[in-house]
Symmetry: C2
Subunit: 109 residues, 2 copies
DNA sequence: TAATATAGTTACCAATTGGATACTATTGTT
DNA sequence: AACAATAGTATCCAATTGGTAACTATATTA
C-alpha cells in the first residue's frame, strides 16, 4: 500500500480520519467474523444504500483496511476481507462494544 | 439522568449513536486529563466553532457523559467534567490511540 | 468613557453526506 | 424470448452538518 500523507499528529485523530464514521465501524464489525460478499454486507448493514456502501469499501481498501477479491463469474461475486491492520481494529470495536453494553445497562429501559 | 429510549440492539451502534462523531471523541480526549473550561476546550479542539462545541457539549451533558458547572462570575466561567460513565470512555479512547499509533508506524511518512 | 474578557445564542449560507431511482453487463434458467 | 441474479455506476434531490458573523450580558480595567 501507498503511504498516506499528512496524517494528523494525534493518533486518535488519525483513527478518526480513517474510521470516524458510523458505517465504517459497522463494516469492520461484520467483517471481524470473516470474509463477506457485497450483498451480505449490504443486508446486514441495515439500511445502508448501495452507493454509500461501495464508496466506504473503496476508501477502506485504499487505506489498507480491507481487500477486495473479484471472481470472474456471472452474476458477479466480490468478497471483502479485513487486512491484518483491519483485523487490529478489533480492539477498538471491542472497546466500543463493551462501553455500549455498560451504557445500556445503566441508562436504557 | 433520564433513561434514553430506543437504543439500538447492538451495543456498538449504541456507542456510535452517542460518540460516533469526530468532535465528541476529541472532547473526551481533552477532558480525560481533567476538568476544563469552555475556552480551554475551544482552543485545544483546533478549529471547532463555538456553535458546534456548544451543541456537542449540550448533547453529551444530556446523555450523562459530562457535567456542566456554571460559576456566578463576570465574565462567565463554565467548567466541564467527565462523569463516571464519561470516564469509562477511556478504554475506547485508548484503543483508538493505540490503533492510530500502529497505523501511523506502518503507513505514514 | 470605552474597551476587554467569557460563554454563549441566533440567523444565514455553503458544503458534505446520504437516499432513491434508474441503468448496465452477462450468463443461466424458464 | 424474457427474466433473475449480483455488484456495481450515474444522476438528481433532500437533509444534515458546519462555518461565519453579529449580537448579548456585565464587572473590571485602562
Amino acid at each position: 500500500m501507498q503511504a498516506i500523507e499528512n496524517l494528523p499528529p494525534c493518533p486518535v485523530e488519525t483513527t478518526l480520519l480513517l474510521m470516524g464514521d458510523k458505517w465504517k465501524v459497522l463494516i469492520v464489525r461484520d467483517l471481524l467474523s470473516g470474509t463477506k460478499r457485497f450483498g451480505e454486507l449490504k443486508k446486514s448493514l441495515n439500511g445502508i444504500s448501495q452507493k454509500v456502501l461501495t464508496s466506504h469499501l473503496r476508501t477502506m481498501e485504499k487505506n489498507g483496511l480491507i481487500t477486495r477479491k473479484v471472481y470472474a463469474q456471472v452474476p458477479p461475486k466480490v468478497e471483502y476481507t479485513l487486512t491484518e491492520v483491519g483485523q487490529s481494529l478489533k480492539q477498538v470495536h471491542d472497546a466500543m462494544l463493551d462501553w455500549g453494553s455498560i451504557y445500556k445497562l445503566k441508562y436504557s429501559k
